[in-house]
Structures are given as C-alpha cells and as structure tokens.
Amino acid sequence: MSNFSTNVEASRFSRMWNSNMGYSFRRNPVAVVSLCIFAAIALMAIFAPLIAPFDPYDLSQIDIMNSEYPPVWIDGADKQFLFGTDDQGRDLWSTILYGTRLSLLIGLCAVTLQAFLGISIGLISGYVGGRLDSLLMRMADIQLSFSTLMVAIIFLAVTQAMFGSETFNQYAIYFLIAVIGVSEWPQYARTVRATVLAEKKKEYVDSARVLGFGPMRIMVRHILPNSLSPIFVISTVQVANAIISEASLSFLGLGMPPSQPSLGSLISSGFDYIFSGSWWITAIPGVILVVLVLVINLLGDWMRDVLNPKLYKG
C-alpha cells in the first residue's frame, strides 16, 4: 500500500509540472525570474541569523562610532560593513536581512488572518444566503468604505496612547498583524462569496446534500477546494499590499520600533539623514522593498492569467 501512495506522490509532482500551470510557468520568463528573486529574498530572510555578519538586536555589537559608514563601493567605507551602517552604527546588511524577515512575517501572518476571516465569512455568506448574507456583506461594505491605512493609523495611535510606547513597542508586531489582517478581510469575503454562489448551483453540491452531508462539510470539503484559484490570486496581491501597509505604518512611526526595525522603519529612520548625504540608509532597504513587492505582484499577475479560463488561448 505504501508503494502505491508514493507512486501517487511522484505523479502529483509530475502532474503539477506537466499541468497547464506548470507549462505556462516554464514558458513565462517573467514568472520564472520573479519566483527566483522571491525565493532568494525569502530564503535570505528565513536564514538571516546564519547569513548576517552582525546581530542588529544585540546592543553590545553596536558602536555609535561606526554610524553612517557608506557602502563598500564608495570611498570612506569600512570593509566589514557591506552596505554601510545606519545612524546608530548598525550594519545595514544585517539589519536589512532581519527587517525583511519581519516584513515578510508580518505580511504573511496578516494575510493568513485576512484569509481566515474572509474565507469563513465569504463561505458562510455565499452558502447560507438570505439575511445573513445581506448582513455580512453590508458589514464588508462598511469596512471597505474606510481606507485600510486610516483604520490602522487610528487603531495603532489609540493603542500606542493607551499602553504607552514601551508596551506598544514590545507587542508592535502582533498589533500590526491584527490591524492589517482585520482591516482587509472584505477583499477575500467578496471574492469567495462570488465563487461560492457560482459553485453552489452545481450538481455536485446537490449530490452532497442528497447524501445528507452537513453544511459545514459541504462548504469546507466540497465548495472551498473548488474556489481556490481566485483565493490564490488575491493572496499574492494581498501579501504585497500587507507588506506595503506595514512599511507605511512603520514609516509613520506606528509600526515596528527602531530597536527592531522592519524595512519600513529602516526607511523611515534613514529619511532624517537623506539630505546629509547618507542616502543608503533609506535607498537600499527601499529598493529591497520595491523589488519584493514587485515580484510578488508579478507572480500574482501571472497566476491570475493562468487561473482565468477565459484567457486560455487554445
């Protein structure tokens, strides 16, 4: 029996590789390059403690005398700091690695939270229908009528004032995940609801109902697996959005504290020095952020093209 199941596993990979999606992936250089860059950034972020020459969170390794060294390719650089140092004398390369890690972590967790909320609400609202559907969708409309950043700024500013910045800085990452996660669920809920409405009219759902399965089982085991393609597409875009939101909030001083900088707070802290000639503190993390968001969006674009059957060309 085990032999049988390994066969299935192997064929699953080859099926994926040979599927329409795999084929279109191999034929699309933009998608291949994007995935490579994204994988490289993600791997570097995951293995940051192994790659980074310094630990930016360790105060004993930071010397204020080292502050504002330029990157190595510019005159007056210190050889041990590849991308130079920031205003506090931290190695910028190490700080960027750790910051990317935080940004990605916040982005992914926030999107997981969004997806969980949005998919549950969308499934229930689409499948149950009626008054509950109207109620939930009006809630989504109300939520959408506030901009994400506005909600986030108000929420974070209030919590910061309530708990004091000491406590806030300690739990900043959770606050960020919660606020970005909660404020963007309607995107998911609307998309999922639309696909559920289309799927629930199909006969396999009737057949499941005739077999006596409960609504929970039908929603999760039958309808959800058939509504995954739009979920994949918005997930990629939402990860990019969440990273940007996090960076914007950190830039505004409502996100990660300077002692644990994400890409956004790094850009923000370097911004004070940009006119005194230390452009690298802002520019290098900025470029990383732009590249990261760009490749995620390009992957999302490609995925949308592939998963939209109307765009199949023969």
Binding site: V8, Y204, S207, L211, G212
Partner: protein, 343 residues
C-alpha cells in the same frame, strides 16, 4: 424490508405544490400598472397539485416536455426543495417537513442520480475519495479496510475498474462518470433511487449501457426507481408505470403497457404519436398548435386547454381532476370523463 405490508406505497406525494417567487425583496414587488403603483408578487407555479405514489420494486417514469416540472418533482422528493403545499410521505412517514438531521436515516435509503455527470462529481476529489466519503459518513463504525472493500465492490458492480480509483473525474468519459455517479449513490445501500434524466447528457451508444446497468442494479439490489426522462423509448424499456406531466400537473398516470397501447389524455396521445417508428411510412403525428402557457399566470381551467383539439367551455373554467379509468389508469381530462374524444 417491510414486505409484510405491501399495500402501503414506498413513496407517496399528496397534492404537492411548488411555487418559486419571481420577485424577491420588497423593491421588486412594486410595479407601475396604468399610472398606479401596486404591489405584486409574481410566482412561477412549477408543480401544481401533484399526487403520485411509488410502489416498492417498481420503476415509475415521469415524462413531459422541458419546463414541465419533472426535475422539480425529483428535487422535492429528494429534499433539495421544500414543497409550498402538500405532503410527501416515505414508507408511511412524512418527510417534507423534517430537518436535515432527522432526514439522515432516510438518506441511506433514498439516493439521487443527476442529469449531468460532468457536474455531479466534485472535480477536486479522486474517485476513491468521492466514493469513500458517503460510506464513512453514514457508517462511521467501519474500518478502513471495510470501507475500501465496499468501494471496490460498488465500483465493480457498475463496471468501473477499482484500480482507477486514484484518478480524478475529468480523466473519465461521460458514460464512465455516470457509472461512478451511480456507484456513489449505491455506496450507502439505498432502496429507492431518484434518477433525474440520468442518460440525457450521454452519447446514444452509452445510454443503453447505463440503462442496462441501472436495470441490473434494480434486479440485484431490489431497487425502486423514480425515473425522470423525456425519452419515451426509454420509458418503454425501463418503466413499469408512467406519469405524464404537463405544466406541473399530472395529466395521465398508467402502467407502461396500458399507456403505450391505449393513451387516453389528448396530450399523451400527441406525445406518443411523436415517437419515431421504424414502420413510419405514413406519419400520423398529432400536431399541437400554440405554445405552452406561462407557468407564471396559470390558466384557470385545464392547463392543456389552449392547445387541445377537444377543449370546450368546461375545460376553460374548471380544472379536471384525476379520474380512475376502467383499465386502472388515472386521467385528468374532462373530454375523457365525458367520453367525447371519439368524434
């Protein structure tokens, strides 16, 4: 089971009606008529006052043209829709007002086969998963090996090789998929199967195979069928009794042999005359004039009145009731009742 009381029908529909609201929500019901705002709720009368019974072991065929409410009847019985009026009894117990939970024991007895085998199997589930799910759900006490055995047994009985069970539905042809859909219905050992045009989406060469498969299953498992179709040759081959539906009402209900030999209702006559015959040198089709009335504004009298050659004033104003004929068939027609069809 329950063979000691054969007089009680397995399934009994009593004056079942189903209306679908056409205007949903308050705003849609407001209309302008002659410069006045009025509130009007339009409804589609899909099934009107249908009474049917299915005896144990028979295959009752429901025929009629498209839009006459055949599928709605099937869905009402299967519990996918709730009737607007009337009662449905299964094995002596009323089933149309029960909750999903109370219906669970019934689900093992009554199953449904759908029209389109391309849509009735979940595309993201392998055949094995699709067939295991109902078995595990309804008999959680079975061990994994027993479930596998059951699935293999059912697959063999419908002529699908159990070694294909790791495949997905899209890897099968339409006929094979319909076999798998039948297998899925059979996994819970039902005694009654509602088949909603199970062969109309299939290739003609496959239709016979699937029909014979269903007949075999009937013999082997003692099944009772409610078979919805619009194909009269299938009815002749498959059914023991036939109900002819027109605009949501039963116009004739008779044994298959009786109905084909001696159709009584003018609509049944027209329907049967439309079946192509091999010896068709002088076609004698009865041509019906006009269109089916809209099920939104049902005619007051007989639903067939607007197209019937024998209609008179009584047909226009009074809805005919089903009357038992000497040969046992039920016919809802004033003309038959008054015996004025012969002229």
């Amino acid at each position: 089971m329950n063979t000691n009381k054969p007089e009680k029908p397995l399934l009994d529909l009593q004056n079942v009606e189903k209306r679908f609201a056409l205007d949903q929500g308050f705003l849609e019901t407001i209309k302008m008529r002659g410069g006045k705002l009025i509130r009007e709720k339009r409804e589609v009368h899909a099934v009107n006052n249908v009474s049917l019974s299915v005896e144990r072991g028979e295959a009752l065929c429901v025929v009629g043209e498209s839009g006459c409410g055949k599928s709605t009847v099937a869905r009402l019985i299967a519990g996918l829709l709730t009737p607007s009026a009337g009662e449905i009894h299964y094995d002596g117990e009323r089933i149309d007002n029960r909750s999903r939970h109370d219906l669970l024991p019934l689900r093992k007895k009554m199953q449904m086969i759908f029209q389109n085998p391309y849509a009735s199997l979940n595309p993201r589930m392998t055949i094995q998963q699709a067939l295991e799910e109902p078995v595990k759900y309804h008999t959680p006490s079975l061990t994994r090996a027993e479930v596998k055995d059951k699935v293999a047994e059912v697959m063999l009985s419908v002529g699908v090789d159990p070694s294909w069970s790791a495949r997905y539905p899209h890897e099968f042809s339409g006929g094979q998929r319909q076999r798998i859909a039948i297998a899925r219905a059979l996994t819970v050992n039902p005694e009654f199967i509602i088949a909603d045009e199970p062969i109309s989406a299939l290739d003609v060469s496959i239709q016979a195979q699937v029909l014979n498969l269903m007949l075999e299953a009937k013999e082997q498992r003692g099944l009772t069928y409610l078979f919805i179709t619009h194909d009269l040759s299938v009815v002749q081959h498959f059914g023991t009794r036939v109900a002819v539906l027109y605009l949501g009402s039963v116009c004739e209900l008779a044994d298959t042999a009786t109905l084909f030999e001696n159709p009584k209702h003018p609509y049944t006559k027209a329907l049967l005359s439309a079946v192509p015959q091999l010896k068709d040198d002088g076609p004698s089709h009865i041509r019906l004039k006009g269109e089916i009335p809209t099920p939104i504004n049902l005619p007051l009298g007989c639903p067939f009145e607007s197209r019937c050659a024998y209609a008179n004033v009584r047909c226009e104003t009074e809805r005919p009731a089903a009357v038992q004929q000497p040969d046992g068939s039920l016919v809802a027609c004033h003309a038959v009742e008054e015996d004025r069809l012969q002229d």
